[in-house]
């Protein structure tokens, strides 16, 4: 790959970012979406979040984990407990990461 090819590839990727994020914002006249779809779209962000989180928690290398001795599970429990105690996302991250690091570095999980 030459530098020019690399720049072309990256410019194309940037254009793809713009075109996908702006897809329904590009036309001047609104593209008609059926009402049921508009209503259903309110579940989309929640679903996208869960779809990223769930495999990160219960899978390794594309397989479901087979042991409870995985530092991610107690980390998620601690993060969940913190969230429903205080509702803060920053604390949720810190609580979970702290448990993860203690188990991984301290206990070698």
């Amino acid at each position: 790959m030459t530098a020019v090819e690399g720049v072309i590839a990256i410019a194309g990727l940037a254009l793809i970012t713009l075109l996908t994020r702006g897809f329904f914002l590009i036309p001047e006249r609104e593209l008609p979406l059926p009402a049921w779809l508009q209503q259903g779209l309110r579940y989309a962000p929640l679903a996208a979040l869960v779809a990223v989180v769930a495999p990160e928690v219960v899978m390794t290398q594309g397989q479901l984990i087979t042991t409870w001795m995985d530092a991610r599970l107690p980390a998620v429990l601690a993060a969940t407990a913190y969230f429903y105690w205080r509702r803060g996302i920053l604390g949720t991250i810190l609580a979970g990461t702290a448990v993860l690091l203690v188990l991984k570095l301290g206990f070698g999980w």
């Binding site: 720049v7 590839a9 970012t17 779209l41 679903a47």
Partner: protein
Amino acid sequence: MRTWQHPEFARGAREMTGTALGIAAWGLVTGVAMAKSGLPLPLAVLMSLVVFAGSAQLAALPLLAGGAPLWVIWATALCVNLRFVIFSAGWRRYFGDLPRGQRLRMAYFAADLNYVLFMKRFPRQRPAPEAVPYFWGGVALNWTSWQVPSLIGLLVGERIPPEWGLGFAGTLALLGLTFSLLHDRSTWIAAGVAGAAAVAAYALPLKLNILVAIAAAVAIGLLIDHTTTQPALPEEDLT
């Protein structure tokens, strides 16, 4: 009044601060991965700054470094970014009346978490004067808390040991955000269906399991909405 002086700009940025640490951890991990991919540093810096889509970058990197044809690289990024097409239909409700140039400028910067937090702030799907400054406030903080750690990760590269599990901090940020969206039976069920679908369809290439999960959750959500009495949308939060 300029956009960044509007109180809603500050609010948009403030409501993003909770997740900013997770975004930063993720940006750092992405930067490290880019540094290790074999892509020359100037190209990697350019990629981080102009592409501004973490999952698409991570998917395109090995292809780019391995000399794959351009169309394969672009098709891959397109598939990974398809969820944004769905989100753009949501943005249209609020920003459809703005000039096209402004719409596209906003769209380019509109990342996943901006969408999630914006929809929490403005659950009624109609334009509002506070929407634009709120949007830019969240976007400004999100862009910074992604790009700065990403560039640091590119520069320090190998010196961050993977066993710290830093990437998991990003997952935990998304987890917290997910909990904040679960407020009734239908959202809990939709989330359960989305999670199961995402794991079951994980073997699909190009992260298409995310689209499968969105489709499944929207379908089950609609089913619940149409078979039970309609729950009122949460009141617009005016505090």
